[in-house]
Symmetry: C2
Subunit: 333 residues, 2 copies
Amino acid sequence: MKLSEIGEFGFIERFAHRFEDLITPPAMGIGDDCAIFPANELYDYVFTTDMLVEDIHFIRSKISPFNLGHKALTVNISDIAAMGAKPVGSFLSIAIPANVEVEYLDELMEGYHQLSQRFHIPLMGGDTTRSPEKLIINISVIGRIGKNQSRLRSMACAGDIIAVTGFLGDSATGLKVLLENHKTSWLTDYFVQCHNRPNAAVEEGIWLGEQNGVHAMMDISDGIASDLKHILKASGKAAIIETDKLPISGQLIEYAEAKRLNIIQLATSGGEDYQLLVTIKDSEFDSIANAFKKRFNKPLYPIGQIEEGKPQISYFNNGEPTSEPGSGFNHFV
Amino acid sequence: MKLSEIGEFGFIERFAHRFEDLITPPAMGIGDDCAIFPANELYDYVFTTDMLVEDIHFIRSKISPFNLGHKALTVNISDIAAMGAKPVGSFLSIAIPANVEVEYLDELMEGYHQLSQRFHIPLMGGDTTRSPEKLIINISVIGRIGKNQSRLRSMACAGDIIAVTGFLGDSATGLKVLLENHKTSWLTDYFVQCHNRPNAAVEEGIWLGEQNGVHAMMDISDGIASDLKHILKASGKAAIIETDKLPISGQLIEYAEAKRLNIIQLATSGGEDYQLLVTIKDSEFDSIANAFKKRFNKPLYPIGQIEEGKPQISYFNNGEPTSEPGSGFNHFV
């Protein structure tokens, strides 16, 4: 059987249940952004790992080594942020083909170090090896969070407001610019920067994790159409998304008009924006959003609501039901 | 500059020092088998990660998927054992080329699961993605150990007896059999089994870590000629190895004679035996070795001694100085 027939999640489902009886709660494994290891009375450790493969996740000629090192770490600390945790250490495994020079690797480590320094995350170990052809980067990050304070995908409640921490669709547009070789302009530079040098919402994640009204949380890596479904499945809830409320940058509005792009599809299915997707208790949303605005000088954007029902998303546009704009990225197709 | 000019450790040295000031002791990073994270008054967590790349670390046609899954986890829990720690959770990142079928992956996960079950190590997360060509496996393992009880490479003292937990050279002979397509026999089957299905000395590592007289410890992945040097560098000590005392299996003695193989070179530079290499306080060696024999029904083999001096190994054969048998494996040559 071909893997493309069952996909990533189909493959994981084939073995994940067999390992379940080996876990001793309150430790927690497969099924969230991070695994959880209890440490002491005050805090837990959380743990995540992600692999970036050349020509699958990045094209070497389309991203500078500095940005590649920076982004590879970003996508991992984004998973830590999605638990509400603070990253405290990273591990880097790298398989290097013969045509990659030491100077390239120095720049890659420069990007990795700059981000490590910004959030004070030591590189604590790893593995370095040769690769026959492609550059492969696997990063693991450990985070720390207050005892039992991790925000899980299973914590969404009916009535919760669904919100995101920033613009959606800019990174997907940057990927489009790169793959289709759009003519360079200040606009395309903006999108490519969003795609090649994303920011992880580390401080936002820690802050949101401290608010009692914040229920489920995850980071947006595959697009909300796909990522929100993980929250719905884990929580056993349905959701509505109001597409007219999705936060879209002025740049994307301008570029989409010129290029006739489908903004809603880019914003819901594009992926790699690394904003946080949160569900917040209805009655506390306004005060949390106000405090968020004061703390980060930007809005927390409400885009829909959790409801009772089967784990699926209903889309509305200006109050009218509308069809699903497209589905999330599947690495195996 | 080509990476082959500076090697794996040369590359790591280019950036490792820049991350040192980001670590807050007692946490510990690059430079040992594992990194250490303090958990509470009773124990620490230790952490290791290793990447296996097709055609660099394994050849798909030369190892069954079951054994590949088993071995990929073994090499990681061996690093945990080398700290004296107990493995408590694993993480698997896997990049899968289109020509690998689901049935192959099922068998690989079967081998991974069998070992996980044997030592009660839950698989707690990971990442699954597509690969353009080669099968790539990155595994991370977390272990737990009594507070400040980790056995480090830096702990060797002058006068310590150097010992290993089992036969050396069998795995390297297995690799030779596979690469040179030796004619199959019960002997070659034994060596191939040693190479493709090695055992991690988990229980031995935990037991040795509980003995006060055990100082430095690491696992033998590249061969003692290379691995012992890490202990010597970290401890600032020299060592003598008595090549006539190296534990060699009856199978290797027989096969080496028939095939005219250099036993000492295989035993010191071959690698992948995953035995433990320990240094033990001289005055306590006999009692520890006796207790080890009672507990594991096999000897702890003394092979040399730590001395004051520059970090280098002097080889002796039946009391006479002899030359270095060859050097450890360098992935980049």
